[in-house]
């Protein structure tokens, strides 16, 4: 291998990137755009669910129960209605996701029978929100029921019964259960998939499309020199974008970083090798920029987005899909990123993920190197 030829390739590639507005957009604007879209836009925390109340009892007790809903940050009482028709209309319009109905003679039943029930109606068109809303509503009702019981026992002069088992829960690693802390490290993987695979997917295809490849391969430059010369600039761009995203995650989004920067960058290098090789491979096979860029997004960005555990947890996926995720490099990289950022997991506890990533990197760079031939047709 001849260093001058590699440098000549790399220099030419840098000049072309610098003069291509589309590449510059992908390099500089896209990472920032993605960080903000996912950092702020994808909020999986379910708080402030709009709530509609219909109090048909109209007593101090029923108001007391409804106040419990107002007291939490999980619900906002946005509507107080006087009829079922209004209640249904509110749910239909989406102004409320949950409605609580206190039936007539609620207090009376409570006092005479020692039990009464209220109704919760949930808009389950978004099943996730409905599920969580139901959980919150149940919790509030249970807490209220316990208080009512204690009050009653006191009035009867009985000693208050103490719950036998209680849970004191503490959340680790993401103490405030902020989904932003979970999402933002994953964005690094997404940004690298786009910068690495999308941009490189154009590089060989562009030479074929513009007819410059024929001249290029008539020179003594070897295919390895072409590959390295073309990928080195994108490698540095990828690493810079990774650093930029990591910095923004910690400084802007206040995501904790508890692990080692060396591990984080070492694994980023592995992932970058994978996406660069894939982009290059696609470019060699596709020979047209349009086909190549679409294939690159389909094989790197989409899996990184949907199947890496970035947003949708892998262990909640169907078994077959879980198996598919095992060949996806983004899956391992996202897992490593979360561990390094939030848990500070030492590398010896992540050997499985790191080995898988290194293996995929070795396979993809071999495939990319073999695929390109200095021949026409």
């Amino acid at each position: 291998m001849n260093l001058r030829r590699v440098l000549a390739m790399a220099r030419k590639e840098v000049i072309q990137i610098r003069r291509d507005p589309r590449s510059l957009m992908v390099i500089f604007a896209m990472p920032i755009f993605q960080l903000f879209i996912f950092g702020y836009g994808v909020n999986l925390d379910i708080k402030h669910i709009p709530l509609c109340v219909y109090d048909r009892d109209g007593t101090q007790t029923s108001q007391d129960l409804l106040k419990q809903f107002q007291a939490t940050e999980y619900f906002d009482i946005t509507q107080v209605v006087e009829s079922y028709r209004d209640l249904v209309r509110n749910i239909d319009h989406g102004t409320c996701r949950v409605a609580v109905v206190v039936p007539p003679r609620f207090t009376e039943h409570l006092n005479s029978d020692g039990k009464a029930s209220a109704q919760a109606l949930l808009d389950a068109s978004d099943s996730n929100t409905a599920n969580i809303g139901m959980g919150y509503a149940l919790g509030i009702a249970l807490a209220y029921a316990a208080r009512v019981q204690v009050d009653w026992q006191q009035r009867q002069g009985l000693p208050p019964s103490v719950p036998v088992v209680t849970f004191q829960s503490r959340t680790w690693f993401n103490e405030d259960l902020e989904s932003m802390a979970n999402i933002v490290p994953g964005v690094v993987a997404l940004v690298m998939a786009v910068v690495g695979a999308f941009l490189t997917s154009l590089t060989i295809a562009r030479e074929w499309e513009r007819g410059t490849m024929e001249q290029l391969i008539s020179t003594p430059v070897s295919k390895l020199e072409i590959e390295i010369g073309k990928l080195v600039p994108y490698f540095f761009i990828g690493i810079t974008d990774t650093a930029l995203c990591a910095w923004a995650a910690v400084r802007w989004f206040d995501v904790p970083f508890r692990g080692s920067w060396t591990v984080m960058f070492g694994c980023s290098v592995l992932f970058l090798i994978v996406v660069l090789s894939l982009g290059y491979l696609i470019s060699v096979v596709a020979k047209s920029q349009l086909a190549a860029s679409q294939a690159a997004l389909l094989t790197t960005f989409l899996p990184a987005f949907l199947l890496s555990g970035f947003i949708f947890p892998i262990d909640q996926m169907p078994t077959v899909v879980q198996w598919i995720t095992r060949v996806l490099p983004a899956r391992y990289y996202v897992a490593i990123l979360r561990n390094v950022f939030l848990k500070g997991t030492p590398v010896r506890l992540m050997t499985g993920d790191v080995t898988a990533l290194a293996l995929i990197a070795a396979i993809s760079i071999t495939l990319a190197t073999r695929a390109f031939q200095k021949r026409l047709g």
Binding site: A8, I15, Q16, D20, G211, Q215, L216
Partner: protein, 318 residues
Amino acid sequence: MSANEISVAVENLTKRFGSFVAVNNVSFEAHRGEIFGFLGPNGAGKSTTIRILCGLLTPTSGKARVAGIDVAAEPEAVRQQIGYMSQKFSLYNDLKVIENLRFFAGLYNVPSADLSGRLEWALRMAGLEGRDQSYTRELAVGWKQRLALGCAVLHRPPIVFLDEPTSGVDPISRRQFWELIQEMVAEGITVFVTTHYMDEAEYCNRLVLIDRGRIVAMGTPTELKTRSMRGQILLVDCEPLGPALEALQHAPGVLDAAVFGNSLHAVVADPAAAIPQIKQAMAAQGLRLSRIEPIPPSLEDVFVGLTAGREIKPGGTA
């Protein structure tokens, strides 16, 4: 350094693309320091041959040696010995003139000591002195072609392959380009050039006429004109051209006829006998004949006589 040193040797070369035979059992030799022309219509197999010689395509069968090296076996060894200019302009339009030159100088590993001298030489040769900072896409076609030639020969290769270097170039730029080729040949470089311009073939020391993948004739331009013709050429000026061609093709004593510009050329075995016969045939058709006289054959006559003639008169003497 003998003048008969063989730069390119091709033996029974065949290239098939599926069932299509692009190059059909072709053999020839090009010697050091000559302009070796490959002349033929579009689709004759010229580009395919040149691409095989540059190691860009693998031959289906046959042998090709460039600078004594077997191209199919050692394409990389051949590439340092050659310069190649493809038919389609293939420099980087988004690079400046100097950036293209530097890029190819890097790929050819031009020694650092020679670099600035070679870059200056290439700029001067291309007529782009002082325009080294221009974007390549802004250059006119003639300058682009000369820059491409400059990029292809920065490393002083002993053999240069030029695939239709002057196609789409204006006549003045074409002439300048051929002057450059002649300068290179004077330095001992072998130039292998394809063209479909018959007039350019006159610049070649030796040439091969190729049609539908087969060599139909080979030799110096003079040899081809004197030896390969099976008759003599008559220039015929007659109006209107279309019916006149029809009449001429069927006139007695005419072996072949074709349109050349605003005139017709007829191939005849015996001009003295044919001229009155043609005049008579034209008059019978009511066509106005303004001129008829014998002329020396051009390469185009030779080519038409050897190729198209077979189609027009399948039962002819060819």
